[in-house]
């Protein structure tokens, strides 16, 4: 069978070469046209899809770029393609699809150039906040904060997450702007390496002064104090939060954790139970109650609580560590080994479900 000139390998190679030349010479429209022609000739040309998608993305043509990156999710470009896909879908306001793509990106090992990783992490975090997962969001944002420094968009994103406000940068009510700015600056400075607690305190205290009667403000102040190891001040703030928001589960968990640190297991247990009543889906509340019960020697009830925490937060390394301990104490060595293995596998994700204080510590360590 004769091969037509349009589909012959030499014709494809000529187009590919012209596309590369156009791209390296910054003739973007020509490069886009030529890469388009190249992938029509050879739809399996992964490099062609990659450069086409990247060029379209750089031109803010997110719909077209998204289609190009879709073709790469089963190729060697899989990791970064998912990151770009998430970014395109974010720009196209397909937030659910964007979140799914970012999760796939994370599952593929967070691949990409340092610039792509920063941008994708930032947008992933924004979507996590909107999805009601501010702690995971802060983990991601705090991990890039020392490198990026005092960037207004970053502090704004941290402000939203710190106050647990389920919005994106583009859609929060204007009347929230001041508190988001103040909380964001406090969180950002606390997450710097070395920590800039002086400035974090300055902004946190301005926030508290301006919005002392509003929910979540004292809890946030408490987390900053906890991070600074100012436990008395932190405790005061968490209790203040509970006078404003009596069912504030994260404050109860934070207080329970402080009690547990002081070996005050009775009060820690009561607070953890109240936190579970207020929010049965709070994994940290179950985790803490599990720890209290473990320390009390009530291993069966502890196991039950930790299993609930594991179901709610399967990526929480701390829960797996305590589960391994309880299984070991119960003599269930196979299950203890399995949890230890899961713990090791989660090592790189450690802290994903941990409190803000742990996140910020993680960010600090990660920066070194």
């Amino acid at each position: 069978m004769a091969t037509s000139a349009a589909t012959s390998p030499s014709h494809f190679e000529a187009i590919a070469k012209q596309a590369e030349t156009a791209r390296t010479q910054d003739r973007v429209p020509d490069a886009i046209r030529l890469y388009g022609e190249g992938i029509r000739l050879r739809p399996s040309w992964a490099d062609g899809w990659w450069y086409l998608g990247s060029l379209l993305y750089d031109q803010d043509r997110f719909n077209d770029a998204s289609s190009a990156f879709q073709h790469l999710t089963s190729t060697s470009y899989r990791g970064p393609a998912y990151a770009f896909l998430g970014l395109c879908e974010y720009e196209n306001r397909n937030y659910e699809a964007a979140l799914k793509s970012f999760r796939a990106w994370a599952g593929a090992g967070w691949a990409g150039s340092p610039e792509l990783v920063d941008v994708a992490l930032f947008h992933f975090a924004l979507l996590l906040t909107q999805d009601g997962r501010p702690v995971e969001s802060l983990y991601l944002l705090a991990s890039v904060a020392p490198r990026l420094g005092d960037v207004p968009e970053l502090s704004e994103a941290m402000g939203l997450a710190s106050l647990g406000l389920r919005y994106l940068l583009e859609n929060y009510p204007p009347e929230l702007r001041e508190r988001i700015w103040l909380a964001g600056k406090a969180a950002l400075y606390a997450a710097q390496s070395p920590h800039d607690f002086a400035r974090a305190d300055e902004f946190a205290s301005r926030l508290e002064k301006r919005y002392s009667g509003q929910p979540d403000i004292h809890y946030f102040r408490g987390t900053i104090f906890t991070f600074e190891n100012k436990t008395a001040e932190a405790e005061r703030e968490y209790r203040e939060e509970l006078t404003i928001s009596p069912h504030h589960s994260p404050s109860m968990v934070a207080l329970a954790a402080l009690d547990l640190e002081k070996a005050n297991r009775v009060e820690a247990g009561e607070l953890a139970r109240h936190a579970i009543e207020a929010d049965p889906e709070n994994p940290e509340a179950h985790h803490l109650l599990g720890r209290v019960l473990m320390e009390n020697g009530d291993l069966h009830d502890s196991l039950s609580e930790l299993a609930t925490a594991k179901r709610l937060a399967p990526d929480n390394a701390g829960v797996r560590a305590h589960l391994a301990m309880v299984y070991a104490k119960l003599g269930r060595s196979q299950e203890a080994k399995a949890e230890s293995a899961a713990l090791l596998a989660l090592k790189n994700k450690e802290g994903v479900m941990a409190p803000l204080t742990v996140k910020l510590r993680g960010a600090k360590e990660g920066a070194h």
Binding site: Q59, N63, E153, P174, E175, D196, E202
Partner: protein, 387 residues
């Protein structure tokens, strides 16, 4: 919508200059031409929904038609369909990247969809490409660039933009709040001002505008009222100090000290205080403050500049040059740093390097017309060389 009325006249003007005569690239020219003609007729007759529909059909025939993309983008903007307008204008600009008015509409669309960093970037591109003689469009773009610069914490750039706007026209009451926000260094858009801060911001804005327009009789009274009414608010004493720095350095120093008591981690107040102390010959304290400012904000060029000036004044020329070189690296556009380096290199016999600094100074003073006499923000904005 601020831009809507001017857009209508802009569209009309653009229509007369476009291009039924242009070469069209449709794969089926007749069909495309018919669609485009019908769309333009519908637009001329204010049947806008129909025109939008027809432009869309035309783009199916020829996705790269400049006319169809431009008119569709502009009409969608006019109908406040900002997200779609943005997408269409992006496609237009991929073909016609030199079209200043299209960058303006893209930036304005992105402002409306609250993509502020991108909006700022594209509005600044509109300024760079130019918008012809469309004065109203330019004013709209300038206004939004000003408020976006503040929103993104580029207060000094925002104050510079305000200065340009005030210098080029009659007093504009819509600039009062932007001036107050930039002066107090509060990163809000006017629409985001907390209700209980509106009076303070308006008062600060009035004072800033009076100062920038050199209405000296109003300046002192306005700033005095601001300080008396809001003595404990962050930013107020800094602004007052900056306004006094040139004529009343002692009072300015006292205001900067007050600001530091309220905002202890303000690098900027330290830099401005250091600047005053250098002028007063108090080099040790100036150096200490500049070094603290560097610790707080290592990338703030003016902090390194002050440290360099203080070190040189104390006799440590090589240490001073090192700091000044850091300042130059962090921000090569500061004329004062090049002046400092010119003097320091000349004093140490480094003639070639001094010559280079002289050329840099000439370049900077040719490209910027240093119109304002006094900075309300960072010292690096001072146009005058150090004494």
């Amino acid at each position: 919508m601020i831009c809507r009325v001017l857009l209508a006249s802009f569209l009309a003007a653009a229509a007369s200059s476009t291009a039924l005569a242009q070469v069209r690239q449709a794969s089926s020219p007749q069909s495309f031409d018919q669609l485009l003609q019908s769309a333009e007729k519908a637009r001329d007759e204010d049947r806008n929904d129909e025109a939008i529909h027809l432009f869309r059909l035309a783009l199916v025939q020829n996705p790269n038609s400049e006319e169809a993309l431009w008119f569709l983008g502009a009409m969608l903007y006019e109908k406040e369909q900002f997200a779609e307008a943005r997408n269409v204008l992006r496609s237009f600009l991929a073909i016609r990247s030199d079209a200043g008015p299209a960058w303006a509409l893209l930036g304005m669309s992105e402002f409306q969809t609250r993509q502020y960093p991108r909006a700022l970037q594209h509005l600044q591109r509109a300024m760079a490409e130019g918008m012809g003689d469309r004065k109203e469009l330019m004013q709209t773009v300038f206004y939004h660039v000003t408020i976006l610069l503040t929103r993104l914490e580029r207060y000094d750039d925002s104050l510079d933009m305000l200065q340009r706007m005030l210098a080029s026209g009659a007093p504009d009451p819509t600039l009062i709040e932007p001036a107050g926000l930039a002066g107090l260094r509060l990163p809000y858009l006017p629409a985001e001002i907390p209700p209980d801060q509106r009076d303070m911001i308006a008062l600060a804005g009035k004072a800033v505008v009076a100062l920038q327009m050199q209405r000296q009789d109003e300046v002192n009274a306005d700033f005095e009222r601001l300080v008396v009414a809001y003595p404990d608010q962050p930013g107020v004493h800094f602004l007052r100090g900056a306004s006094l720095a040139e004529l009343h350095p002692d009072q300015a120093m006292a205001e900067f000290e007050r600001e530091l008591a309220i905002s202890p981690s303000s690098a900027l107040a330290r830099v401005r205080l250091a600047q005053q102390l250098i002028a007063a010959g108090e080099y040790d304290r100036a150096l200490a403050l500049a070094q603290q400012a560097i610790q707080l904000e290592p990338k703030r060029a003016s902090a390194h500049m002050m440290a360099g000036e203080a070190l040189i004044a104390k006799g440590d020329t090589s240490g001073g040059i090192k700091e000044l070189e850091t300042a130059r690296q962090d921000d090569p556009s500061i004329g004062r740093v090049h002046w400092d380096l010119l003097r320091a290199y000349a004093a140490t016999g480094r003639k070639d390097e001094a010559g280079k600094e002289k050329s840099e100074i000439e370049k900077i003073y040719h490209s910027n017309s240093p119109s304002h006499s006094q900075s309300l923000g960072d010292s690096s904005r001072d146009s005058q060389p150090p004494q």
